[in-house]
């Protein structure tokens, strides 16, 4: 940063910022260095891997309960070599992305209005609050009745699982727009639409992006439920099928794969967010 020296700004603001990412003598609230993060993180993962390997190698556990790393890897390799794995992954990815986009396309304007116009909040919050407790799984039969057995039904499950949380979270993000920003716009004579477009939306951009990142993660949770019905490909469907044939090796591999994909996408979201919202330093990590 070329202006690094100018950053410390006023004591107050910078103290507030530092409180989140402190560098401290005491072991409490000492933010570990990036290297420490990698070392500790990998160490724990490696340790878990070794325990897993050891337990299965010494045959402490029935391989049906806990398959060995080798077996899991082989199962994955087999699926990959037939091209099935790739087809499943891309199919699931497509479903999640579309379901997520539909949800976002609706949640964004609704959340924006709910967060900024009191009457919208009053009108919609009770309803959304009510619906969001309803278990998405229970909607499966209804979605079949309503949307049939094609892709629409799958999107609808992902939508039901995602939309209501998204709308509430975006509402919250928007509410945190500093009122003074809006006031500046008002003194310039901007009307409601321009205030929303030019000030409220960009101001809550980083927080909304974070909401999208988190809710995209949740969308994966609904994949298996979405693919229960009438799916020929897809990681969720593959898990269901493997379940039927008691293929724990595959289940392990597939669940792990979903975990890895989730982790990678999360990082991509974070990187994209940092690039998009360079001006914002509020993001963690």
């Amino acid at each position: 940063m070329s202006l690094g020296h100018a950053t410390p700004a006023t004591g107050e603001l910078s103290t507030a910022r530092r409180a989140v990412q402190p560098v401290r003598r005491h072991q409490l609230f000492h933010q570990p260095s990036r290297t420490a993060f990698w070392i500790w993180g990998s160490a724990v993962m490696a340790a878990l891997g070794i325990v897993w390997f050891g337990v299965t190698a010494l045959e402490f556990a029935n391989p049906y309960f806990l398959p060995s790393p080798g077996a899991v890897w082989t199962a994955g390799y087999e699926m990959a070599s037939t091209g099935q794995l790739w087809a499943d992954t891309s199919e699931s990815m497509r479903r999640i992305v579309i379901g997520f986009l539909i949800s976002t396309a609706l949640a964004l304007p609704i959340g924006l209005l709910m967060g900024s116009v009191g009457r919208f909040e009053a009108a919609l919050e009770p309803f959304i609050d009510f619906v969001r407790y309803m278990p998405a799984v229970a909607f499966v039969p209804l979605t079949i009745v309503w949307f049939g057995v094609d892709e629409g039904q799958k999107y609808s499950i992902i939508f039901i699982g995602t939309f209501f949380q998204q709308a509430l979270m975006i509402m919250d993000n928007v509410k945190r727009t500093p009122l003074d920003y809006v006031r500046v716009g008002e003194t310039l004579g901007l009307g409601t639409t321009k205030l929303l477009r030019r000030i409220v939306l960009p101001s809550s951009g980083p927080a909304i992006w974070d909401t999208l990142r988190i809710s995209f993660g949740w969308a994966w949770t609904w994949l298996v439920v979405a693919e229960l019905v009438a799916a020929r490909d897809g990681l969720g469907q593959r898990i269901v099928v493997s379940q039927r044939y008691f293929d724990t090796d595959r289940i392990f591999f597939l669940i792990g794969l979903i975990g890895v994909i989730g982790l990678v996408l999360d990082q991509l979201f974070k990187i994209a967010g940092r690039a998009l919202f360079r001006w914002s330093s509020t993001e963690r990590g």
């Binding site: 950053t7 003074d180 006031r183 003194t187 004579g189 001006w279």
Partner: protein, 265 residues
């Protein structure tokens, strides 16, 4: 004709926890080239008054006139600088100033140049491409002032614009504001609770009593212009300061007594 006239204005806030009277009837007017400081303890209604003049809040009774016309909403005839840094962090310094000029009938080129000109006025043209987060507090407030001046409002409302700055930066900013104002002259309403700042900047100091705010004193400051750093340690300033200090302390003592009484009762 007055630049701003405040007529019989009162304000009562109604919230979920009850009603708060923030202002008792206020009547006062400001001349077009007058620099007025409004002084008062925290919570006495200074911001409320300024927001009403800006059109950001509606008075409960009474009204505001700007250049002889009653106004009821915000408008470009009144510019405002807030206490907290209100630069938009997602825009560069240049874009922040241009933001105020959008929607105006002028070419991109003209808008760019005009923004640059006002950045020059506050000595910030070198930072046009920087983002607010890269600037210190004082630099940010300089840009905020440039933004408020750029569309040439007749009245400039400033709500503790230097309140969050450290003492040294604050002095620099006071000198800068004095210089700019002495060149451009307009009606300024400057809210502060720093007595020295009030005296050293203005032609007139209005002291408000504590809540519900009312005008307790209205003092002309006869320190010759142009003013400079020496004004800060001048004997005149010290005189006004002692006088205001006395006025304010009466207020503070009242408040203290009231608080203890309420607690005990």
């Amino acid at each position: 004709m007055s630049a701003v006239r405040i007529v019989n204005v009162t304000k009562t806030y109604t919230t979920r926890s009850g009603r708060t009277q923030a202002l008792s009837p206020i009547n006062v007017s400001f001349r077009p080239d007058e620099f007025t400081a409004i002084l008062g303890t925290s919570g006495c209604g200074k911001s409320t008054l300024l927001h009403i003049v800006a059109g950001l809040e509606q008075p409960s009774t009474g009204h505001i006139e700007v250049n002889g016309t009653a106004v009821s909403g915000p408008g470009r005839d009144r510019g405002m600088v807030f206490q907290n840094y209100t630069l938009f962090p997602w825009l560069t310094v240049q874009q922040n100033v241009e933001f105020a000029l959008r929607d105006l009938p002028m070419s991109r080129r003209k808008r760019h140049d005009q923004a640059r000109e006002y950045l020059g006025l506050v000595g910030m043209e070198a930072f046009a491409a920087a983002h607010p987060s890269e600037l210190s507090g004082g630099m940010r407030q300089r840009v905020a002032i440039a933004r408020a001046l750029s569309y040439q409002p007749r009245v400039l409302l400033m709500d503790e614009p230097f309140g969050a700055l450290d003492a040294q930066t604050r002095q620099g900013m006071q000198m800068l504001l004095t210089r700019v104002w002495e060149e451009h002259r307009m009606s300024v309403l400057f809210v502060t609770h720093d007595i020295e700042e009030a005296v050293c900047l203005s032609d007139r100091v209005i002291v408000m009593s504590r809540r519900p705010g009312a005008i307790k004193a209205d003092l002309a400051i006869d320190i010759p212009r142009p003013r400079g750093i020496d004004t800060l340690t001048s004997a005149e300033l010290n005189g006004y300061k002692a006088e205001l200090l006395q006025l304010i302390r009466e207020e503070a003592d009242d408040a203290q007594t009231a608080a203890s009484a309420k607690r005990a009762g």
